[in-house]
Symmetry: C2
């Protein structure tokens, strides 16, 4: 039934797959202890190092955690949003850098996704969310702020927007999209005028949420998207010109 597919894979990959399937299928529930490495080795007919490699694969995906000592072992891990965020961000970042995704494509995706949050955020935003956004806007206006810090604050601002939608599933999916943009954004040099423009848009967005005006929020995001893509185009154009000169 499975030998055709499995034959091509390492034993540790097969074992990891079998255990993962059991977890996904709910045969192993959260916090349940797996058999010890020796027992697993016997069960699968392999040596302990092979079992360990399989377990490390699962640990890398946060599917299990291990504990040493008596009554230790490998336990099915409750996948928390915070852990999933990290992996999601790493994967998204690498996807962008390794596949030479254009700034425009990534930017379009990011703002499209944020736009999805706008109506919910307008409806549910708390005073805390608004305060967080205003704080970042203030930060972005401070003189002497490095481009990198400006980008970091931009990310924090947008994450506050996403969190304002009060939907953890949405926050999870957007974490990657928002954070993965940061390396791309860091390639942009923001002039004082650029910053003023962006800060104004952020202000408009915060105002819209405060007024619970979904349409205005979407419009602000749309404008922000267009402006950011324009900035990206300028950078690309400058680089092309420089390359041609050289």
């Amino acid at each position: 039934m499975k030998t055709e597919l499995d034959a091509a894979r390492d034993l540790s990959a097969q074992i990891a797959g079998a255990i993962r399937d059991a977890i996904v299928a709910g045969q192993l529930i959260v916090d349940e202890r797996l058999p010890s490495e020796s027992e697993l080795a016997d069960k699968f007919g392999v040596s302990r190092p092979t079992v360990r490699e399989a377990l490390k694969r699962l640990a890398a995906q946060s599917l299990i955690r291990t504990q040493r000592g008596a009554s230790g072992g490998a336990f099915v891990n409750r996948l928390r949003y915070e852990e999933a965020y990290g992996q999601q961000i790493t994967t998204s970042t690498l996807l962008l850098s390794m596949n030479a995704v254009s700034f425009e494509t990534a930017c379009e995706a990011r703002y499209a996704l944020e736009r999805a949050c706008a109506p919910l955020a307008a409806q549910r935003r708390s005073a805390d969310h608004l305060a967080a956004m205003r704080a970042e806007i203030h930060r972005q206006g401070q003189p002497g702020l490095s481009d990198e810090s400006f980008c970091a604050s931009d990310v924090a601002f947008h994450r506050a927007l996403v969190d304002a939608a009060e939907n953890p599933v949405l926050s999870y999916h957007l974490a990657g999209a928002v954070e993965a943009m940061q390396p791309l954004m860091n390639m942009i040099t923001f002039t004082a005028r650029d910053r003023t423009e962006i800060i104004a848009r952020h202000g408009a967005l915060a105002d819209a949420l405060e007024a619970r005006d979904a349409a205005a929020a979407e419009a602000a995001l749309q404008a922000l998207c267009a402006y950011t893509i324009r900035l990206g185009r300028d950078v690309a154009a400058k680089r092309t010109r420089r390359t041609q000169e050289a």
Copy 2:
């Protein structure tokens, strides 16, 4: 600088982290070969099994691939969308099941995200995308279709919608959201009337895309979302009633 954080982790986790950082930072480029396991063992001052565990961790995240034989070894893997999809879907599915996310929350997130695709899909949809959607609609209308197949077709329909936006980054982020809903959807029993209703909405959505009418597409999605959440509520209500009876 790092010893405080590293001290708590296994050697294999530290080594995997070091290599991962090098990949993310671009110090190791795609298709570049890592030193052999023996060389890595020397370099990090650990044994080969420990290095292997570290490499398996990275392999589990598709960051590297290994090849046997002469001139084999571990190579930095180009993270492809297809591979990333799979991990994304597994993670999303587990996040939903392990954190007892309500059907409503997941559904809301999914449709909010799809709504983000609607304007782009309306603008860029090709004849192929439309054909794929129509085909799934036709499939959904066939008598004798199991609930499971109906759900699978629903997923295929929505993925066609997402792909119609012609933005791979968007497709990637939505893959998890759409696919992870399937197990939750499978818990619903669709009556003939439910199906008729859903198929009508799907038809309206396809019509809107064909007419390149973004607003109509968003409206259709909104309606579909509301209807699906209602179905979920009914199921939950029935289950509660049954539990109380018992």
